[in-house]
Symmetry: C2
Subunit: 229 residues, 2 copies
């Protein structure tokens, strides 16, 4: 069995309003519901564990029912950092699980095909992450001076899902300081164990919605997707 | 005297329509005009050289007149690559120039303050570029496998303007293969000469408009700027 852990425990409200960003609406539906639907529709995932801010866990079951999210098995209260929230999701996973797919709740545009490809790559190679090309020129800096220009062809932006054999991810988290704010993805923890993480090429549409401009782009992406269907 | 070279010779029409992207409109005004206005309003710049696709050079003077672009001194036909276009702009610069500010024509949201800060940093240190923080986790990859996670704090995205002492930039271009498509910014050429390039922290609003989604973000940024004024 393959399980998705959706990390949506962020309490950031910097977009204004008093709702955390994962509950803001895109085309009339909360961002987190768009995200959950992508996993609901993906045959490579059998179960979903959702990590939410503690005050939101109780009310979410009714929302899940309304949107017919049948794979959603548990709603877990999050921690103080993203890593602590993922760890709490991980502690709720049943032992018969093969692959864990960790995904950001505010990345609603991941496709079923992208999830499947990443899960399959992890089944074959233990660890795999979805990535996108880097379009900017990236400089390494030191003391306010450019140290060097990084060769763009060998760089990738790390997206989610990031998929791992359950035992591997559990081992990686055992050795992690989950309160370290510099811990930005699961892959980094697994890399530290010396495990090879396979990269899967994904779309740059799979954006993380973190500010007002992202929300505007999100609406544009949705409109474009609709005009195709 | 300080001169801006605005590189707007791209012929890309992948956003649809038959107009290159620098001529598409944001709030009813071509992107390139928004860009030129930022430099027109900046006291640190005395003259502007605009590099356009060859077929567009003749018609542009009337547009420049209409928008009262008084600093625009020359309109130069571009080359086959961005670097070749900048080189053509450079060949049109008069010898009394102190600082050259090279800017992407499709970055209309640069502010007068950002231009000034970058020019001043180049006056003090020979070479300076505007940059923004990297928000994604960046991986270095090798043969489809993650080689390492780059420490995000020491990375910057290279924006424009990039400002240099005229003689320095001319020397850098003398040694450059301007047809190399991997040449993505002027700074890389100057770095090769062993010169220290100072970084100036800029806003992530200073986006490069290269696709339809960017255009939507652009409209959102403009609306936000207006709601502030």
């Amino acid at each position: 069995m393959n399980v998705a852990i959706i990390a949506a425990a962020g309490q950031g409200t910097r977009m204004g309003g008093n709702r955390a960003k994962q509950f803001l609406e895109l085309a009339g539906t909360p961002i987190i519901i768009h995200t959950l639907r992508s996993f609901e529709l993906c045959d490579a995932i059998q179960e979903i564990i959702l990590v939410l801010p503690a005050p939101d866990t109780a009310g979410f079951l009714a929302i899940a029912e309304k949107h017919r999210l049948r794979k959603l098995s548990q709603i877990v209260p999050g921690g103080t950092t993203r890593a602590e929230s993922v760890l709490r999701g991980l502690l709720a996973v049943r032992s018969a699980t093969e692959i864990i797919a960790v995904h950001d709740g505010v990345r609603p545009f991941v496709t079923s095909d992208e999830i499947t490809k990443t899960v399959k790559a992890a089944e074959a190679n233990e660890a795999a992450i979805l990535t996108a090309a880097v379009t900017d020129t990236i400089k390494e800096v030191s003391n306010g001076i450019v140290a060097r220009t990084l060769p763009r062809k060998v760089l990738r932006r790390s997206l989610t899902p990031q998929c791992f054999r359950f035992e591997l991810l559990r081992r990686a988290y055992e050795q992690a300081d989950v309160l370290d704010p510099d811990l930005t993805d699961e892959s980094a923890l697994v890399e530290r164990l010396g495990v090879k993480v396979t990269i899967v090429e994904g779309s740059s549409r799979n954006i993380k919605i973190t500010n007002q401009e992202d929300l505007v782009v999100g609406e544009a992406i949705l409109n474009e997707l609709e005009s195709w269907s």
